[in-house]
């Protein structure tokens, strides 16, 4: 049976754009049909924005790359259509084991907090994630949405102008030119768009290499995350074993920075390493082996005129903590509603600068957190190693030391606490829902809160009065009226009111809180809407 990543899902087809005398102008062009490009295109198409995705390939990602998808990503995927299928296909796990040298030092059980529609995270091969999104694109096409993926369309040149972007695209049938009001570059860590525009990353915090192997085995390994510090089979480095769907296991072996990549990825050198790890008598097949080199760095800003960078093209982090694809999906989530308002003339272009500012903050947070993990996993000095080993030795016997063990922290959404789109906090409410926060989910009887906040500005009232809708300078806001009584588990109250008796929230289309007060006050909320759309 062919693997899904061996099947062309969006084969090259000649576009009418290739036969016109003058280049056709599109609203938005997305470069790259990876998880981020697909998410952005679906988001725009769902909101009625015409979009074309150009990809130099015609298949989903070869091999497995991203593996761990966080709750926030699944919440966003629910809005895009596909979250449910991802959860159904993915693997969920609760038990993690930590090994140090040749012994298990402890195991932990992640008891997820209840009251959320989605699990804290799932393991899923990137090619499944992409396949589900490609299916969604086809579904939208069937419904008449203006979205297309052009396979084997490789962008060879990018010309930037004040109010449009011009592209030269190579195809199997020769080149053609095409234009867009806006360009979103989701073309990965090596981003040709970034290079063609002469832009680069700033700084370089860290660099390391990993041997990434996806092995198929029928072995009786439990569905757990196993992490090794300094194991006998990979001295001085780390290792990770993680389960994915279809009996595929992800193995990450840290190799250090000074290695011969071609040598390390030869099967005759890989297999002995894996045997030492899994045991001599465990039978397995290699599905995929690669050497993954990462750096922690980002572009200075993610908007350059009419070109917007999202995902790995804009920022890169270490793999610890699943912050690559997850943060990229959140980039798209942040960008698309802003781009829609700008395209419709309902918000000024400077709103898109807030995309850059907010997601730069998120990238810095992700880089900082994954760097902390990296420094724990790979101590840089003799003293760092001494302290790290002290933590691990204590963790075997004493619970207190376990929170200090850092083999990657769970990716949580960034709170844009000082964003210019926020209004001052005017509710004595919980910290987790202060302006800038991503709305936490909450149960509402048989349903959940987040799907009711999807894709539009919402005025969430909890035991408070307000008009059913407001329009401020072209921006429509719809009320969602709730009561603490709608959630007998009281999570809605705990997450959105705390000690307050009532609350009114202005929630952005990306489900981040823009403003909140105890009661509705028209002038304050009109001003909050203006702020949230870059008008104040």
């Amino acid at each position: 049976m062919n693997k899904i990543f061996e099947v062309p899902l969006y084969a090259y087809e000649r576009s009418p754009d290739q036969d016109t005398a003058t280049p056709v102008r599109h609203k938005v062009i997305v470069i790259g049909a990876g998880p981020i490009g697909l998410a952005a295109a679906i988001d725009l198409a769902q909101q009625g924005i015409q979009v074309v995705v150009l990809d130099d390939n015609d298949k989903v990602s070869f091999g497995s790359r991203a593996i761990c998808f966080s709750q926030r990503t699944l919440d966003i995927a629910d809005r895009l259509g596909g979250g449910r299928q991802m959860v159904d296909t993915g693997v969920q796990w609760n038990t993690g084991k930590v090994f140090f040298d040749d012994r298990k030092v402890y195991e932990f059980n992640l008891q997820p907090e209840t009251g959320y529609a989605n699990p804290a995270f799932i393991n899923l091969q990137q090619y499944y994630f992409e396949q589900i999104l490609v299916d969604r694109v086809h579904e939208l096409q069937d419904q008449g949405a203006s979205i297309e993926i052009r396979g084997r369309n490789k962008v060879a040149a990018v010309g930037t102008h004040d109010d449009f972007v011009k592209l030269e695209v190579e195809t199997p049938e020769g080149p053609y030119n095409i234009e867009a009001d806006w360009l979103i570059a989701c073309d990965g860590a090596q981003s040709p768009t970034r290079r063609m525009l002469g832009l680069d990353f700033e700084g370089r915090v860290f660099e390391d290499n990993f041997l990434i192997a996806d092995v198929v085995m029928e072995a009786d390994f439990p569905t757990e995350r196993w992490f090794w510090f300094d194991p006998p089979f990979n001295r001085g480095q780390s290792a990770l074993l993680h389960k994915q769907p279809d009996n595929v296991w992800r193995i990450d072996l840290q190799l250090g920075w000074d290695i011969d990549k071609d040598y390390e990825k030869q099967p005759e050198n890989v297999i002995p390493r894996l045997k030492a790890m899994l045991g001599e008598d465990v039978a397995f097949d290699l599905e995929w082996v690669s050497i993954y080199t990462f750096q922690c760095r980002r572009m200075e800003r993610f908007r350059h005129g009419r070109v917007l960078f999202a995902g790995d093209s804009a920022h890169q982090v270490s793999p610890f903590g699943a912050r690559g694809a997850n943060s990229g999906v959140q980039d798209a989530d942040n960008l698309c509603w802003k781009l829609k308002l700008v395209l419709e003339g309902k918000a000024p272009e400077i709103l898109l600068d807030s995309y850059s500012r907010e997601r730069v903050q998120a990238a810095d947070e992700n880089i900082a957190r994954s760097t902390s993990s990296t420094e724990f996993i790979t101590p840089k000095s003799e003293m760092s190693r001494l302290l790290r080993d002290a933590v691990l030795d204590l963790s075997e016997h004493y619970e207190f030391a376990r929170p200090l063990v850092n083999s990657g922290r769970l990716s949580v959404p960034c709170t844009y606490h000082d964003s210019s789109l926020n209004s001052a906090d005017a509710l004595d409410g919980p910290d987790m829902t202060r302006p800038g926060s991503a709305c936490p989910d909450a149960p509402l009887g048989d349903a959940f809160l987040l799907p009711k906040l999807a894709g539009k500005f919402t005025l969430l009232t909890i035991d408070a009065d307000a008009p059913d809708s407001i329009e401020e300078d072209g921006v429509e806001v719809t009320r969602l009226a709730l009561s603490v009584k709608d959630d007998l588990t009281l999570e809605l109250k705990r997450r959105y009111l705390g000690k307050a008796r009532s609350g009114v929230y202005l929630i952005r289309p990306d489900q981040h809180v823009a403003a909140r007060r105890d009661t509705y006050e028209e002038n304050a909320f009109r001003q909050a809407i203006r702020r949230a759309t870059g008008k104040e």
Partner: protein, 65 residues
Amino acid sequence: MADLILTPNIDDADDFFADLLATHEGLEKGESDALNARLVLVLANHIGNSDVLKQALHTAALKDA
């Protein structure tokens, strides 16, 4: 903000110091270093308060001394 205690506070200073030395007795340098590292972590957890810990780190660095 909680304050780090920088006046004498150990119940019996001489006994404590003798115990500290005794704990290290017979250890190689590497073992002693590891023990000290574990001791720092055990004590830090007991203190817990981040203000006090920050002051302790600053004090130990002898930057103001």
